[in-house]
């Protein structure tokens, strides 16, 4: 299969930048993979790029109202920490996760709008001239995306407008909200006529894109350097889409995986937040099991959620208003109910992934799970001291990494560790200063 980068990668190390290479050659993008263009991958990465290598994955989850910090963070640091009330609900998996305190993204402020910076760490997301940067999952998708039918999956609960996934050109990938739709895309086979029609559609799309890319090149010659940059971005996006259509086309010929589980039911009401969350967790596990993708993001848009239905409990206020508890006991109690559900569902997910084995390891060992929030305390809209849980993926867990609560340690360092675990020879991501101190790979 063609090995192409789906989006421009300006690699700052010795490998040739793609654009300069292209201009020199004056040819279109459909070139076979060229040795000169491959950035330096670690040995492990090269292994994982071959079709039979065992995959590694990531799942990034952001609960954009966070959890009650007083009940989340444990006491004591290191391996002997004392579990908090919330962490007690994950006790069965204590050795499979690391809880991290005293971390945040440098200069990511602004309260609620900071959820879109959760996986990008782009600073000042609430400012009026904010430009987001590439998210962790898209960075991974660019490098590994061609190995699976879907380079990535962008999911959400209750949030069509809030996305964790951002392309390198600073544009959000709209999340899928309906688990049933995603399931169909992943597993429902098309008939031969449908497949042929789909291929035709993709080819038509590519021919349209060819024509407009042509025009943009012509126009670019007539404008100054500054304007030329905008047209260049247009051209690049067109080519980017063409690649994706080409890759989709190749995948059309391959049969989709067969699964024995039924499609998830439609959950229409945003109040059924926990049901939707569970459905998304189940879907993520299925997608990883069938190697349909290796990078999944899940935005839990708690801010945009109305009153949550919890069987056996009374919730009286919308999720966002609850989070502005203003220290009232009643609201705090209801938040605890919701937070505990988050912990229980997460615990179930970890258990489910542990129960699937993959060549001597469990699916959990090969999948990095980041569960966190852009808000350290939703009541105050504070974006520091973020509650962070990191599980699986092949690390030494079972510890509390306690960083400085007054001067936070950069969370992007965790992202660098994650990239290295995926097999990439990276030592920087956004505002990182290195890998995460105290976190070791197995």
């Amino acid at each position: 299969m063609n090995r192409k980068f789906p989006a421009p990668v300006i690699d700052t190390r010795q490998a040739l930048p793609r654009r300069r290479f292209l201009r020199g050659m004056g040819v279109a993008m459909s070139l076979p993979f060229l040795e000169a263009m491959q950035p330096r991958f670690a040995r492990a990465a090269s292994d994982s790029l071959t079709p039979n290598a065992r995959p590694r994955r990531m799942l990034g989850i952001c609960n954009n109202l966070g959890v009650r910090p007083d009940l989340f963070f444990p006491t004591g640091a290191g391996r002997d920490y004392t579990a908090s009330p919330y962490l007690k609900l994950l006790e069965a998996h204590r050795d499979d996760f690391t809880v991290i305190s005293g971390v945040s993204h440098p200069n990511v402020d602004g309260g609620h709008p900071s959820d879109i910076s959760f996986l990008t760490a782009a600073p000042h997301p609430a400012s009026s001239s904010f430009r987001n940067t590439i998210s962790l999952d898209q960075y991974i998708a660019e490098r590994f995306g061609t190995l699976t039918r879907f380079p990535s999956l962008t999911l959400s609960v209750n949030g069509a407008a809030r996305s964790l996934s951002w392309t390198g050109t600073g544009v959000a990938i709209p999340p899928e909200e309906r688990a049933s739709d995603v399931f169909n895309q992943l597993f429902l086979q098309g008939t031969p006529e449908q497949v042929a029609a789909q291929i035709h559609r993709l080819d038509t799309g590519r021919s349209i894109l060819d024509a407009v890319a042509d025009q943009s090149k012509e126009l670019q010659r007539k404008v100054g350097a500054r304007d030329s940059g905008r047209l260049e971005q247009y051209f690049t996006s067109v080519r980017d889409l063409e690649h994706r259509l080409q890759e989709s086309r190749d995948w059309e010929r391959k049969p989709k995986p067969v699964v024995s589980v039924a499609a998830p039911a439609e959950i229409a009401s945003p109040a059924q937040y926990m049901d939707k969350l569970k459905a998304m967790y189940d879907l993520a596990k299925l997608a990883f099991e069938t190697d349909s993708t290796r990078a999944i993001t899940l935005m839990l848009n708690s801010v945009g959620t109305p009153v949550v239905t919890i069987p056996g409990a009374t919730i009286t206020d919308s999720y966002h208003n609850l989070s502005h508890h203003g220290k009232t006991e009643e609201k705090l109690a209801q938040l605890k109910v919701l937070d505990e559900w988050h912990m229980k569902l997460l615990s179930n997910l970890l258990g489910d992934l542990k129960s699937v084995s993959e060549g001597g390891e469990s699916l959990l060992d090969r999948t990095m799970i980041l569960y966190g929030s852009n808000l350290g305390d939703a009541n105050a809209h504070s974006t520091t001291n973020l509650p962070t849980l990191f599980a699986g993926g092949g690390f030494h867990h079972g510890q509390h990494l306690a960083f400085d609560r007054a001067q936070n340690y950069p969370l992007p360092n965790l992202f660098v560790s994650m990239l290295q675990r995926m097999g990439l020879d990276e030592n920087k991501f956004a505002s990182s200063t290195g890998t995460m101190r105290g976190l070791e790979m197995t």
Binding site: A7, D109, H124, S127, S128, S129, F130, R131, A161, T167, T169, G170, V171, A172, I173, P174, H200, T204, G205, S207, I208, L209, A211, V212, Q215, S216, L219, V223, G224, A225, R226, D227, G229, R230, L231, Q233, Y234, S237, V238, D240, L241, R244, A268, S269, P270, T314, T316, D317, S318, H320, N321, H324, G326, K327, T328, D377, N379, A380, H381, S382
Partner: protein, 900 residues
């Protein structure tokens, strides 16, 4: 160093080292006061931050703010003037070079509002939903009009392809089926069937409907012992309710679906009623299977007794909504009075949209927990208000001779034909199933007048029909049509490579056997996703007539030019001042200028974020669910600005005005008497009203709060930045956010005491906070308050019930202190006084408005070298008291607008 300097020059500005050494080094070298380090400040204009620093240096020196008054060494006026002049010349020279080479504005694509309008206008499909298919635009200088913010990605490209295809098929649908104008009358008694008694999942008594005749009850009909309808009483029969739908998302439907997109006239007949209390407390079912039976609790004073009904005691506002695939939008309002009346509205509907109606003032039954406790807030010991609706009549689609103009653009006079089953190719169009509507005058079939709500929407009546366009000479027709299409869609002359390029798309598709229609749409999709359509093409220097026409239309219509404007440009006359003025007037007077008002206020005042927060169900459950209040608040601001524009009212009205736009609900919210009815209308405010101007509008006050608490800092910052045009820098990272205390022990003002006491905080906060403190007199929805609402376990709450039927949980706590002091030392006791103080100098308000308009109109902010031009614009507008329309006109005639 000055003109002609290379942009990569790294030396400092001439004379700066000496100047800084002498007058600034004490604070700004080692100490770096205020974060400003002047010790080695070079001039690297390519670096935005560096350029901005030099601008700040210039501004503070010119204003005499720096060096501070008590500094030991201050420059002599002549030396200061020389230095600032040098700085100014350097900055201006750099910018002029950039302007000459690249223009002020970076090339940009249409934003998603403009793209939607452009497609709608081009294809004459005003109902087409295009904007929501495109990714959100970025923001620069607070608007979505600058190239810096308008990125393109593969997502964007994919959406262009989808959106263009969809809009074109809408145009085809509009021409495919043109049923004759028909009248459908649906009687409420037919729509509801016989459902007056409780069902398993509709047992809440206040949600039940009941029969009404001539403002009185019909117990026999209600109990099922008499027929629901009879010919003698048909025209007077009605169905009544005492509540609104429980959720914003659902309304009672009438079973009508618009057969095609078009304009429809809707008439609704009904009246208000008064219902006695003492109705059954609650129904529930016990037993299983055959033994299942209804039992009920004892009568309760606030539950309706639907067997005792009286003529209404007040008017009831009724809202009309259009709904399709789960999305609802309000399309009109009318008032029911105690005497039966017919309300009428005309609306644009998309194919398949259904009509729903609902009361807007009545409460929405929200249960608390599982024992269904709620109380109607409008119920009294004597009964409660309700409404009764008799029939709905829809006439349409109304004749519209332009409805096929989109199709004509695409396919000329070529006919369309439906493809039979099994025929391949063709283009799928959405069509409404023929028997989804009630036959004229007769009863409905399926449950139509049912309860809506999330997850309970009726089956969509839309299905697909596949059509083909018949051409006897495909290659010739294709070229002819394509040439014309590109000519109309592009805003510049076509060139042959473009025609061949897109014709090639047609040929490829046609040779693959996709049929004429699909092949043409493929070519057209290319055109509508191409840079020629999507990008705004401008060359540095003076804009040619075509580029000027595009800029004018994007400014005043938020869309592309119409044929009349294009004709002026083609004839080369648009740049002539009289012609430009005439066209500006024409565009402003056209109803499409409302798009400018809405898009401008959406970004300048953030109105598009009105739903980002909702009132807290704990503290503000009298506002929660009050959608009509929010809609009225939005309309007030938009209508107000539109009026400032239309009547050329002075910009100072932004601070304080003697009029605004209200309806009964909003007037009640503000405490202004004498406004009746649901329609918004212009109202002259009482002489000493605190309302008037933007700051005290409910929309602005809601946007600057978070549904639970207000913040003087956030409100103050918003006002000083957006209205007064004073920029303040973000807080230093070490500042901890304030945790508001809604238990009411401490006021927010007390919590912010540090802002006054700490000098480094005060430097910014003394500018930002004052309007915020004045606005503490207004709660999260903009109502006046003398005391803060608070919630605490040991304090008795205020008596009363919210719109959700739940008891108030709040009590009135600490008093509001809205006094403050402006930076210049003038003090005020309340918002009226601060408005008077701010009105003493209207120029900053006018200047700020002009700045915002310049960004919106040109895509570039007022830069350092543009300031002189801006002052000239203001100067010319001075004779008309800085009228808003005059500002717009002066901007259009300025160099800023007429150059890239």
């Amino acid at each position: 160093m000055l003109c002609g300097a290379s942009l990569a020059d790294e030396a400092p500005i001439k004379g700066s080292a000496e100047f800084f050494d002498q007058y600034c080094s004490e604070c700004h070298y080692e100490d770096k006061s205020g974060g400003l380090d002047l010790s080695e400040l070079t001039f690297t204009p390519d670096n935005r931050d560096n350029f901005a620093t030099w601008v700040r240096v210039f501004d503070r020196l010119s204003a005499g703010e720096m060096p501070p008054k008590k500094a030991k060494h201050r420059p002599a006026p002549a030396d200061l003037a020389t230095f600032t002049h040098t700085v100014s010349s350097s900055l201006t020279a750099v910018e002029n070079e950039v302007t000459a080479r690249d223009g002020r504005a970076i090339q940009r694509r249409l934003n998603r509002y403009e793209y939607e309008n452009a497609l709608r206008d081009l294809l004459n499909v005003p109902w087409a939903q295009v904007k929501d298919k495109l990714p959100l635009d970025g923001e620069a200088y607070r608007f979505n009009k600058s190239g810096e913010a308008l990125d393109v990605s593969f997502v964007q490209m994919e959406r262009y392809l989808t959106a263009a295809d969809y809009a074109m098929r809408q145009a085809m649908s509009a021409a495919f089926e043109r049923p004759d104008t028909a009248v459908r009358k649906i009687y409420a008694r037919d729509a509801i069937g016989q459902r007056y008694l409780p069902r398993e999942n509709g047992t809440l008594p206040d949600r039940l409907m009941f029969p009404v005749l001539d403002s009185h009850a019909q117990p026999e009909v209600r109990a099922g012992r008499a027929p629901n309808t009879s010919p003698k009483t048909r025209e007077r029969e009605a169905v009544g309710k005492v509540s609104s739908i429980f959720s914003d998302a659902g309304q009672y439907g009438w079973g009508f679906n618009a057969p095609v997109a078009g304009r429809y006239r809707i008439r609704l007949k009904g009246y208000s009623v008064w219902v006695s209390g003492g109705g059954i407390g609650r129904w529930f079912y016990t037993g299983q299977g055959a033994e299942k039976a209804a039992t009920y609790w004892l009568p309760v004073w606030h539950r309706p007794n639907a067997d005792e009904i009286w003529p209404g005691r007040n008017n009831e506002p009724i809202g009309i909504y259009a709904q399709s695939s789960g999305q609802t939008r309000p399309v009109g309002v009318m008032d029911f009075t105690p005497k039966p009346s017919v309300g009428e509205i005309e609306v644009q509907l998309a194919g398949g949209e259904s009509i729903r109606s609902d009361a807007m003032r009545l409460f929405r039954t929200r249960v608390n927990g599982s024992d269904e406790q709620y109380v109607n807030p409008l119920a009294t010991q004597e009964g409660m208000p309700g409404y009764a609706v008799q029939w709905l009549e829809v006439m349409g689609p109304l004749k519209d001779e332009h409805v096929t103009s989109g199709y004509k653009l695409l396919f000329g006079d070529l006919p369309m034909r439906r493809l039979g089953a099994g025929e391949k190719g063709g283009v799928p169009l959405e069509s409404v199933a023929p028997n989804s509507n009630p036959p004229l005058g007769g009863p409905t079939g399926a449950a139509a007048f049912g309860v809506g709500g999330p997850g309970a929407f009726p089956r969509s009546p839309i299905s697909n029909v596949t059509v083909e366009v018949i051409s006897e000479t495909p290659p010739q027709d294709a070229e002819r049509l394509l040439r014309n299409f590109i000519q109309v869609a592009y805003r510049r002359p076509i060139d042959e490579p473009d025609v061949q390029r897109f014709l090639g798309l047609f040929k490829r598709e046609f040779e693959l056997g996709s049929g004429f229609a699909r092949s043409m749409l493929t070519a057209y999709t290319g055109v509508l996703a191409s840079p020629g359509f999507v990008f705004v093409e401008e060359q540095p220097g003076k804009l040619d007539d075509r580029a000027l026409a595009t800029r004018l239309a994007l400014f005043l219509w938020n869309s592309t030019p119409d044929s009349a404007l294009r004709a002026r440009a083609e004839r080369g006359e648009l740049h002539k001042p009289e012609v430009l003025r005439t066209e500006t007037e024409r565009l402003l007077n056209d109803p499409k200028s409302r798009r400018f008002v809405d898009a401008f206020t959406d970004y300048w005042l953030d109105l598009r974020k009105i739903d980002d927060t909702s009132p807290s169900a704990t503290i503000y459950n009298d506002y929660e669910l009050d959608d009509p209040l929010k809609l009225a608040a939005l309309a007030e601001t938009q209508l107000f600005f539109a009026e400032l524009l239309r009547a050329d009212l002075p910009a100072r009205n932004i601070i304080a005005s003697n009029f605004t736009y209200l309806n009964e609900r909003l007037a009640g919210h503000y405490g202004i008497p004498g406004v009746a009815g649901a329609k918004m209308r212009r109202v002259t405010l009482p002489r000493d009203s605190e309302r008037g101007g933007l700051m005290t509008m409910a929309s602005v006050l809601k946007l600057t709060a978070n549904g639970t608490t207000t913040s003087p800092v956030l409100r103050g910052h918003w006002i000083t930045e957006r209205i007064l045009g004073i920029e303040t820098r973000p807080p230093p990272p070490s500042v901890k956010p304030v945790d508001p205390d809604i238990r009411g022990a401490v006021t927010i003002r007390q919590q912010l005491a540090k802002h006054r006491d700490n000098p480094s905080c005060a430097s910014c906060h003394s500018k930002m906070d004052p309007p915020g403190f004045a606005l503490e007199s207004f709660d999260v929805m903009g109502a006046h308050r003398e005391r803060y609402r608070a919630v605490a376990e040991n304090v008795k709450p205020q008596p009363g019930y919210g719109m959700d039927g739940q008891a108030f949980a709040f009590h009135y706590g600490l008093p509001v202190d809205c006094a403050g002091e402006l930076p210049d030392g003038r003090s005020f006791r309340d918002v009226k006084e601060i408005k008077r103080l701010l009105m003493s100098d209207e120029v900053p308000v006018a200047r700020n408005l002009a700045r915002q308009l310049v960004v919106f109109a040109t895509g570039a902010p007022v830069r350092f070298s543009d300031r002189a031009e801006l002052e000239q614009i203001l100067q010319r507008a001075r004779t008309r008291q800085y009228g808003v329309r005059t500002l717009v006109e002066e901007i259009v005639s300025s160099e800023l607008f007429q150059n890239k």
